[in-house]
Amino acid sequence: MKMFSVSHKTAFVVDHCPYMAESSRQQVECDVLTKSRAQGVIPLAPVSKSLWTCAVECSMEYCRILYDVYPTNKLVNYIVSDSEFHILNSWRQEDQSTHELMAALAAVGPPNPREDPECCSILHGLVAAVESLCKITELQHEKRTALMDTAERVANRGRIICLTNAKSDTHVRMLEDCIQETILEQNKLAAGSDRLMAIQQCELVLVHIYPQGEDTLVSDRPKKEISPLLTSEVHSVRAGRHLATKLNILVQQHFDLASTTITNIPMKEEQHANTSANYDVELLHHRDAHLEFFKSGDLHMAGSTSRDSGLKETVTLKWCTPRTNSIELHYCTGAYRISPTDVNSRPSSCLTNFLLNGRSVLLEQPRKSGSKVISHMLSSHGGEIFLHVLNSTRSTLEDPPSISEGCGGRVTDYRITDFGEFMRENRLMPVSESAHDPSGKLPAERAKAQLERHTRYWPMIISQTTIFNMQAVVPLANLIVKETLTEEDVLTCQKTVYNLVDMERKNDPLPISTVGSRGKGPKRDEQYRIMWNELETLVKTHAGATDRHQRVLDCIVACRSKPPEEEERKKRGRKREDKEDRTEKNGSKDTDDKSWQDSDRLKGMLDKEEQESEVIKDSPDSPEPLNKKPRLSTDEVQPPERAKGPVSLLSLWTNRIAAANSRKHQEFAGRINSVNNKAELYQHLKDENGMEVHENGKASR
């Protein structure tokens, strides 16, 4: 259905003239006497509805179904006509509810039979309906403003449903002519207004209502074109049950609805709680939920039956008692809102309450062959019940390959738990439309901005990170990603840093990954250097946000143990070394199993770090004493490469290749177990020069 089809706007025009106060002559016994009380009691005379009451309750039923299936953008304007017109609501979304309409109808009351019939006419209401159809709706306005250049694409069509008691076919023709004239007049007016739109298409559905037992004075007539702007159809219906059926069929035709009857619903008997009988419940919904049946021609096999007028068809689906309440994922190709045809009958309300309480029901399509196929599911979301269409044929998605067969599928140390935590922190919630953010950003934009902040430094695998494996870093890591920090937050971060300094002083072990590196991995002071570098990397990506973020970085830079090369530089003051350090670090990073990208990033980071440490070095705030201990240990165990001085390109290359090769084979079990072997290897390294590390390793095999 197009967005602005005739179904976007429906004007109900209901006759409120004195003759509508006439009885429909359909009597309802509402005094049902039980046998025990029947003696001596005179039962109340049956009541009967007026034509007006019949018209109103059937139109309300039409609206109820419409609002259930289309809660928005299918609008009703309700107009009552007697000696003048009364517009009971507007096109606005907040006016679209049966409760609003019932309240307005109560204020109007039944027609006054003593009013002068000469002054009263349905015409007042019909003219008002045409005027109303020219009025722009919220959706039309929104789309027109959104599509400035293509605003003319927003169409203005509408339908008028007129419930009246016409006098004759001539009378009906007079009404049609009058509507046609009014449309032409109103379209002229609309051309000159911003809030009005000319009517491009109007569909008049005239329902002539007459009391039971009388002959109709108006003949039925299928839809015919009065003019390019107006079509008209006439339905002549007896008040009561027939009128209700007619409007039920009309609402289905007007809004592309179809009917499904759920059969075999087991229900406890009210009187005998231990027995249960099977009931049927009919639901209306968008007809696309039956698309598969229509197309495959399975409609008849699906148990379609014609009832009443022969116009109304329903597809029968069988209730499957839910075995478990577990959440099963089904290939679902669509979900459609439903409305029960007989909303307050006991079977209907039992079914809907069952669903509203969170249960789901699978529905089975009876087939001629006797095979069972589950084709639909009923389930509610947020107080609304949906008919879900399930894929009952073979799926093209069957047998997908495992994700482990793809890129990165062989990596085993993903930070799955950490990312789970990350996802929990980045969960979404509905934010009310009225809550305005000063930044002018929509909530979803703010959620994306948060994702950006939280992922500025986020290593994907455990062996790629130290700080995220340390409980001690958690308070800082959680706070630093925030958009703004409080003084208290800064304090917490600083405490975290002091705590790390303390750990370093006590020489606490760090959870440094040894994956990919041979032996015990880096020495303790090297471990701390890696940790501090990583922490600095994390905080640096946020330092630009606010002064407080910057202060956290300053604290780290001031407190961290200085890289050993800097200490040396302090001593020797040789500038030449800068270059070598950098190249060496690149080499050593590789053996730490970092990706190229990472080593590049670290390189840049270290460059900056060096510049900054120059600044800090002379700062009086720099807590010198803390550096003493690491420096001592640095002197004791120097990384092998360092001892030799300048490194040739060849040695860098061989180191890299050797490191890469070493990752491709499993370590000899013997070497892992043997402590002596290892010690000897390193001893060997120290005796000769560190540069031949791997060549020696190979030779010893």
């Binding site: 197009k2 967005m3 509402c30 005094d31 009541v47 009451t53 309750e57 109820r64 609002y67 259930d68 809660p71 019932m102 204020a107 039944p110 293509t150 169409a155 698309l291 598969e292 197309k295 994922l329 089904h330 679902c332 190709t333 409305s339 909303v343 809907t352 979301h381 947020g382 107080g383 609304e384 019940i385 044929t393 093209t396 390959p401 495992s402 994700i403 793809g406 890129c407 990165g408 599928g409 062989r410 990596v411 799955i416 990312f419 789970g420 996802m423 929990r424 922190e425 980045n426 979404l428 919630m429 509905p430 934010v431 929509l442 979803a444 703010r446 950006e452 992922t455 994907m460 990706s595």
Partner: protein, 481 residues
């Protein structure tokens, strides 16, 4: 999306292609060469798609049912035999049946018809089919348009000039027209040789079998992905914005929500080492946490990512596309109005995940979730009146329920202009009052006559008593003193 290859094996396909003898091929050989190329391409880039092979002449035969085994297709191709004349209509009927039996009628398919443009003679020829198109009953309808969404690609082992000499091109265009214009006719340029058949199938591959590559972003984390089946553009409401919506190749992850539903069209997205990949991390965490991630595919177009496991304990990252629009799932509200939980004073999921801000409740409840009054059927009215009477007999214990039901009936009667009912129920209550047993609580009589009087006042339409929002309140009685 699945493909049916419909191969013409009529005698005309055995015509030699060149007379100078440099290449001693039949048209059939060229067709097989082109299809081999297509199958090789699919085996390399589309190995998750299903393909079937149907051969046809005056009869049709399913040579290979839908499969991912391209070797089987290739083998069948090399064992083709030659038959009699071309009969396109019956072959298309065959395709229609094969697809519907396998995939139903909502799964989109591609049909590749390989022919030489000789569309048969006499009865059963395409020309004959079109001549009789208008004189058919419902039981003998032409198979196009297919009941499922389908694109028809016609590969002609012939060049355009040749086809234009007869009415072949015209008929093929009519075929495409009957398929709602969905598809394309490919012909060969220049002489019929291996090279020109390669060029023709190359065009088909570019048009219909190019792999869909995209980048999945989550903040600064990202991953290259390939999506199977290829998401096709969607045209929504041809009235206001007739622009087809295509999936942006830069896919943005909006955030994650703990939803447990799978909705709308599902398309498998399979992410193709050893270096860490964000998709694997995301998949692992989604699986462990039982969560789904929301993805943005374009302006106002969203989908979700989740871990999908089959029975063999293999699982992969799946992407389901929602219908384009700002609010694809009503119970999530507008997607643009989903914000980070860090903005809330209190975690809406609770500290221990015991609650959820979803589903979003609609502002107005649906009719079946409210206690609406419908008296279309007499039984509805009788039930409501009996409910009041039942409670009336249990006064004063049931005072609250009695007035609640009474007010519900009163409201509906006023709205429907059914004043006669108000008088009737008032009479019933007065009668109940006279029938009260001696043992009844004195309050019962007071409440019954009070309620009856109020209903009678309402039935006069007097604005003081007949206001819709007015409720009859129990009469204040005090029997303690």
């Amino acid at each position: 999306m699945p493909t049916v290859v419909l191969m013409d094996v009529s005698l005309s396909m055995t015509r030699p292609v060149s007379l100078d003898g440099s290449e001693d091929f039949q048209r059939k050989n060229l067709a097989v060469h082109g299809l081999t190329m297509l199958f090789e391409h699919m085996a390399a880039n589309y190995r998750l798609e299903f393909t079937s092979l149907v051969a046809f002449s005056s009869l049709w035969e399913l040579l290979v049912p839908f499969t991912r085994d391209y070797n089987a297709l290739q083998e069948a191709l090399s064992n083709l035999e030659d038959y009699d004349k071309t009969c396109v209509e019956s072959a298309l009927h065959g395709v229609s049946n094969i697809v519907q039996q396998e995939w139903g009628s909502s799964c989109p398919c591609q049909v590749v018809l390989v022919t030489d443009g000789c569309l048969g003679i006499g009865k059963g020829s395409l020309r004959h089919s079109f001549h009789t198109l208008k004189q058919r009953g419902d039981d003998k309808k032409f198979p196009l348009p297919f009941p499922f969404p389908a694109k028809l690609f016609i590969m002609c082992v012939a060049n355009a000039e040749e086809l234009n000499m007869t009415d072949a091109m015209e008929n093929l265009e009519e075929l495409l027209h009957l398929n709602g214009g969905e598809g394309q006719i490919f012909t060969m340029d220049g002489p019929l040789c291996l090279k020109s058949v390669q060029t023709m199938f190359g065009k088909l591959i570019d048009q219909a079998y190019s792999p869909f590559h995209a980048v999945l972003h989550c903040g600064n984390l990202s991953s290259d992905v390939q999506v199977f089946p290829r998401p096709e553009p969607v045209v929504v409401d041809e009235e206001v914005e007739p622009m087809p919506r295509t999936v942006n190749t830069e896919v943005d992850e909006v955030g994650t929500g703990a939803t447990d539903e799978l909705e709308e069209e599902a398309s498998a997205s399979q992410m193709a080492g050893k270096s860490p990949n964000f998709c694997v991390l995301l998949h692992g965490s989604l699986k462990v946490e039982g969560m789904v991630a929301l993805v943005q595919l374009g302006p106002d177009w969203y989908g979700m990512l989740y871990s999908q496991a089959d029975s063999k304990k293999k699982s992969n990252l799946m992407m389901s596309l929602f219908e384009p629009g700002p609010e694809p799932l009503p119970w999530l509200g507008r997607i643009s109005h989903l914000g980070p939980i860090s903005e809330a004073a209190e975690n809406p999921y609770g500290e221990d995940d015991s609650k959820s801000p979803f589903p979003v409740q609609p502002q107005i409840k649906r009719s079946y979730a409210q206690n609406v009054t419908v008296w279309i059927k007499a039984s509805g009215l009788q039930t409501d009146v009996q409910k009041i009477l039942r409670n009336a007999r249990k006064l004063p214990d049931k005072t609250q329920t009695f007035y609640k039901e009474l007010n519900r009936l009163r409201k509906a009667a006023l709205a429907f202009g059914f004043w006669e009912l108000l008088k009737g129920v008032a009479d019933l209550l007065e009668r109940e009052c006279t029938l009260l047993p001696d043992s009844a609580h004195p309050d019962a009589a007071f409440q019954l006559s009070h309620a009856a009087q109020q209903l009678k006042l309402a039935s006069t339409g007097d604005s003081q008593y007949a206001a819709f929002d007015h409720n009859i309140v129990p009469m204040h009685t005090d029997f303690s003193s």
